[in-house]
Structure formats: C-alpha cells, structure tokens
Amino acid sequence: MKKILIIGATSAIAQEVAKIYATQKHELILWGRNSQMLTAISQDLTVRGASKVSVIAHDLNDFSRHEEFVTNIWKDSKTIDIALLAHGVLGDPRKAETTQSELFKLLNSNFVSHASLLAFISTEMIHQGHGTIAVISSVAGDRGKQSNYVYGSAKAGMTAYVDGLRNRLFKTGVHVLNLKLGPVDTPMTKDHKKGPLFGKAPQVGAGIVTAIEKKKNTVYLPFFWRYIMWIICSIPESIFKKLSL
C-alpha cells in the first residue's frame, strides 16, 4: 500500500489519478481549497476502495503556511511515496497582459506556489530517501505564444525548476517527473471550444499513473503533443513572431 499526496486534488485530472490509486487500495491525502468538493472526492475514493483518505482544505496560494502543512503531512504519514502537484489556473490571458492582480494570480498559482511547495516536499523526500514527485506542467511552457504567454511562462519556469530538481535529487533516490499536458476536456477548459486535440481526463489520468510507475522524466500527454511541440519549437523565431498562435 502506497501513500499518495495530491495537491490541487479537486482538479478533474487529479481526480482521475486518485480514482486509479483508490481502486488499487492505496492511501490518499488530498490538499485543495474547496472543502465541500474535497469531502465529495474523498467519499468517492472511499467507495472506490481507498484504504484511507484524508483531506487538507487550505488555499495553496497562502505561501506562509506551506512549510507548516508539508511538515505536518510528513509528521502524520511518516512517509509519502508519491507527491503529485496538480493545481493551477488558466485565468484570463488578456487581463493578465495588463492587470497586475491577474498577472500575479497566474504566476503564483502556476509557478510560485509549486516552487515553494516543492522546496519543502523535496526536503522531506530527501530525508526519507525514496519517492516520486510528479508535477503537472503544460505544453504551453515549451514556447511562448501570444494567446497565453503569462500562463506559458509560469509553466516554462516550472519545467526548468522541475528539471533542476530532478538533477539535484537523482543521487538521493527521489524521482522527479514533469508532466507536460496538452489541453484536456475538464471544467478548467469549459469555455474553450473542444477540438480533436483535446485530451480526455480519464485517459490523461491513466497516462500519469503509468508515467509515475515507469519513472519517466518528462512525459507529454496525450503522447502526440511531443511531436506537435517539436514542430512548433522548430519554427524559426523570425517566422514564429508573425504567426497568430
């Protein structure tokens, strides 16, 4: 039986991952903001077979409490086998271009809070000497484009952070996984027009579980985004800057 910490547990993708672990009778610790939803999710996971589910309802952008919460999680659980960071917001990309509050919301919710949490989580993981840290990033971080570069830059920051963390933790026995997701049909993207490239949350959730199991370093989900991003990243900047992507 594994102990799995899921941060941003109310996200649709996180829920799919949690369902799989619940069916495998693992123990889950869910951290998110909406306590009502966390309770509903913990009921669902219990019905599906989780051996134990506990919840922490607290705003992840309250950075001052990160250390305290992370320390308490390890104090209660002794070890955590898998820590998945799944929180984030799409926000309003247009507003973020000009409004500081929206800009900071996007950067904090998509990078700063992750960097802060990972600092404390990695300390605990190093101390226990094993485990996997998996972070949900985005293909938007591979190349900045006008439609959502604030979100994208936060994710790009995270990619660099996670790569560096993996490098640093390698010798300690702790594995670090970067999950680069394409758009997925979830409440987060409810206002977006769904095309054939939209992933389905259950499939993406299953892909995350497999990537964790196989100790992958960086994974694109759905897989074809690796090739799409390879093409997008190969476009020379002199041309790219003229495109409206």
Partner: protein, 434 residues
C-alpha cells in the same frame, strides 16, 4: 456540426447551447433560455434535445457518495453511468436492479425515463428500486425526494423526462449476484401464440426474458425467445468484468442505402437460423446478454446521416394484445419498411413508481427504422392509432414524432404531472407534444 444530438440523430437541432453543472453543490446555471438536464444522450428522439434552449450536462457529476457491500445500497451523483456502477458493484457481488439494453446511460437519465429491462415482469422499472434523490430546482431549492419526503415530486420526477428539476444525486438498491455469468436459453418461435405461450411459461422461473422478432419474413411472425437467470458461482472468473475497450467502432456514417429491405431481410433470415437447433442453452457473460450492442461504438451511424427512428409501444393484455400486434405487423409488412432490430417482450403487473412511466402490464414491441421521411411518419401514425385503440402507449424516450393527441391519450395523467414541471425547464419533445 450538430451539437449534442440524440441517439437517433433525428430530429436535427441547430440552435442549442450547453453548459455543465460543475459539482452537485453548484447552483443551477440560469441562462435566458429554457434548460434541460442532459446525461449521455441515449434517448432516441427529442426528449433529450432542447432546440432554442440550453442543455445542462451532468458529465462532471460522476462521483460515488456511499456504497455498502453488505446491503447493496448505493448513493451516487446523477452523471454516474450504469457502466461505472457495474465496474464498482460486480466484483463485490452486486448488479443493477434493472438495466436497459445499454450501460451507457446515467443514473439521472435512468430515473428521468424510468427505464425498464428484461426483468420487468419480476422487478418493474428502475424507479421501483430508487430510494431517494436530491432535486435541484430553478428557484435554487434543493429538495430531498423519496416515498416519504416530497412524495409527489418523487413520483413526478421518476419518468418525468427531466422536466421537474435537475437530479444531483440518487440512491438505489442493487441486487445480489453469485457470478457475472447468465444461464441463458434460446428458443425459436414461429408465431405470436407460441411467443405468448413461451413468455407465460418462462415468467415464473426466469428473471430475464426478451425476444428478438423477425417482422419482415414472408411467413408468420417468428423469432427467438431468450431467457435467463444469473448463474451460480462458477469455478473461475466468478465476477469477471466486461472488457472496457472495444476495437469495434462505426467511425463514419454509412451510406444511407446500406440498410434496405433486402439487407434487412437477409439479416433477419440469418439471425433466425443462427440457432441450429430450435432450443439452445448455455452460459453467457452479462455483457452480451444485457448489452449486445455496446461492443460496437457509435452503432447509430449505420443508418447514415439522416438518422433513424425507434418506435416502442406497449399494449395491455386485456385489450387482446395479440390482435393489435398482428395489425401492426401487417401494417409494417405492407409498408415494406423493415426493422433491422425488433424486440418483443412482456411487461409484468408491478405498479411503476413514476407518474408518467411508460411500462404497463402487457406486451411491448420496439422497432427501429431508417429515417425514410414522410412515408415512415405516416406508417407510424397508423401504428399510433392502433396503439390508441388498444389502450396502449408509446415510449417518449424513443419518440421523435407522436402527435399531441396521441400523447395526451397515452398519458392522461399529464394534467397532474404538469403541476410539477419546473417553469425554467423544457425540451423539444415537450413543446412538440404539449
């Protein structure tokens, strides 16, 4: 591109918005237009369409709330599918109390249409096994509905076609099984009298009965009667689940000529004779027994882009069901509009829970027709008049064309039902028949 069509792909809707309810705690979206709850859209006609309005989708309401493997009582959100329930319950020795011919329906949709299955003669409709649910009204009220709490709304919502409010979660009772296998028997019958005789003989000893009927053969009405019971514990794979992934898919719409009276006749001929002996018995898994078409995804596309119409009616025994059935079979033969798949079954006398529920004691026939247009509509109107005079009714979940007059004759309780409709809720079906 058509937005959220019904399963029959007819009628087509052009002007229909959709939104999802984000959680069971969220308040109901209230756009300027009317709204209608939407599950997996397995209703064939327009009872799951809201042209000019908004569909409120339940796809994010996919959580279980509680389940007791001792008692089999389960509580879940309305968007949980029958497949989800099966995957959870079968390994623990439980099964759906009543299931239609597909597991791709939601719990909310099953209540709204008060679905029935092969065990109607023993277990009634799905609504008979529902203990309680929460109904979210456009006023913002959340009403707990059961046989004791808001009992009138409970009865109006079961079979209420999604018009009384949005079901957020429901609780129902599962049935105990010893294995996921079914002891099945198949018997050929060569006329309606044979069918009635086998049905009567089977009802006491078999939990599940149904029959496939060939209504295009030139001889008398013939078919295969299928009956079964969940099998006792088997030595291995006692609670084996169905395979989730299927490679069988209908990826594109087939040309409209694919199903014509010759191919349908050929299919029926082959299907009738697939039993080499006239009586065959054996063990089958629940998947092919209950859900023979689920393994072919998007099978509705075999009728082409024009879509197809289902027609299901019930006629009570006491009005000489046989005569009415024969009359309808004659009409169909004369019209040369063959039904690819026709299903004939008897309904028992268990009182349905819902005010507007479709099943009643008698015999039911379900047919599907490629969308031949006006000529088909005329034939079905003739069938309606036969059903009307036999005191029967037509199933709204499968209807796309019945007249106002037919609907109010089939469902005289419409007046008392109407009082419970949420003023913000409506559907294409409702505006058509009312």
């Amino acid at each position: 591109m058509m937005l959220l069509p019904s399963w029959g792909l007819y009628p087509k809707v052009q002007n229909q918005a959709s939104q999802a309810l984000e959680s069971r705690f969220a308040s109901l979206p209230l756009p300027d237009s009317t709204i209608l709850p939407r599950g997996l859209g397995r209703s064939y006609g327009d009872s799951c369409l809201n042209n000019g309005g908004t569909l409120i989708c339940s796809n994010y309401l996919n959580k279980f709330i509680s389940f007791s493997s001792e008692t089999g009582l389960i509580r879940c959100e309305a968007g949980v599918t029958f497949e989800d329930v099966i995957k959870l319950a079968v390994p623990k020795g439980w099964f759906l109390p009543v299931t239609p011919g597909t597991k791709f329906v939601t719990v909310g949709g099953a209540i709204a249409n008060d679905v029935h299955g092969k065990n109607h003669h023993k277990s009634g409709n799905f609504g008979n096994h529902v203990t309680q649910f929460e109904l979210l009204r456009s006023t913002g009220e959340r009403l707990l509905c059961s046989r004791n709490s808001n009992p009138e709304l409970f009865k109006a919502t079961i079979g209420g076609l999604g018009l009384t409010g949005f079901i957020t979660w429901a609780e129902f009772q599962l049935i105990k099984i010893d294995s996921s296998w079914v002891d099945q028997e198949q018997i050929q019958y060569h006329n309606l009298n044979d069918f009635f005789a086998i049905a009567e003989e089977s009802e006491e000893n078999f939990d599940y009965t149904v029959s496939w009927v060939d209504c295009v053969s030139s001889s008398d009405v013939r078919g295969i009667f299928i009956r079964g019971n969940f099998a006792n514990a088997q030595s291995e794979d006692n609670f084996k689940l169905h395979k989730e992934k299927s490679l069988k898919n209908v990826p594109v719409f087939l040309p409209e000529q694919t199903l014509n009276r010759f191919s349908i006749r050929a299919f029926n001929e082959l299907y009738f004779h697939k039993n080499i002996s006239s009586h065959k018995a054996g063990l089958v898994h629940y998947e092919p027994f209950f859900y023979p078409l689920d393994s072919i995804h998007n099978w509705n596309r075999i009728y082409g882009k024009r879509g197809f119409l289902q027609y299901q009616f019930v006629v009570p025994y006491k009005n000489d069901a046989g005569a009415a059935l024969n009359e309808i079979f004659q009409v169909l033969k004369k019209s040369q509009m063959g039904s690819f798949l026709a299903v004939l079954k008897t309904f028992g006398n268990l009182q349905p829970e819902g005010l507007m529920s479709f099943p009643k004691e008698g015999v039911t026939l379900a047919l599907d027709f490629a969308n031949y247009g006006d000529s088909l509509l005329k034939v079905l109107e003739t069938c309606d008049s036969i059903v009307r005079s036999a005191n029967g009714s037509v199933y709204p979940a499968k209807d796309a064309r019945m007249s106002k007059q037919s609907f109010s004759t089939f469902y005289p309780q419409i007046e008392s039902f109407e009082k419970h409709i949420d003023p913000k809720f409506s559907s294409s079906f409702w505006r058509r028949v009312r």
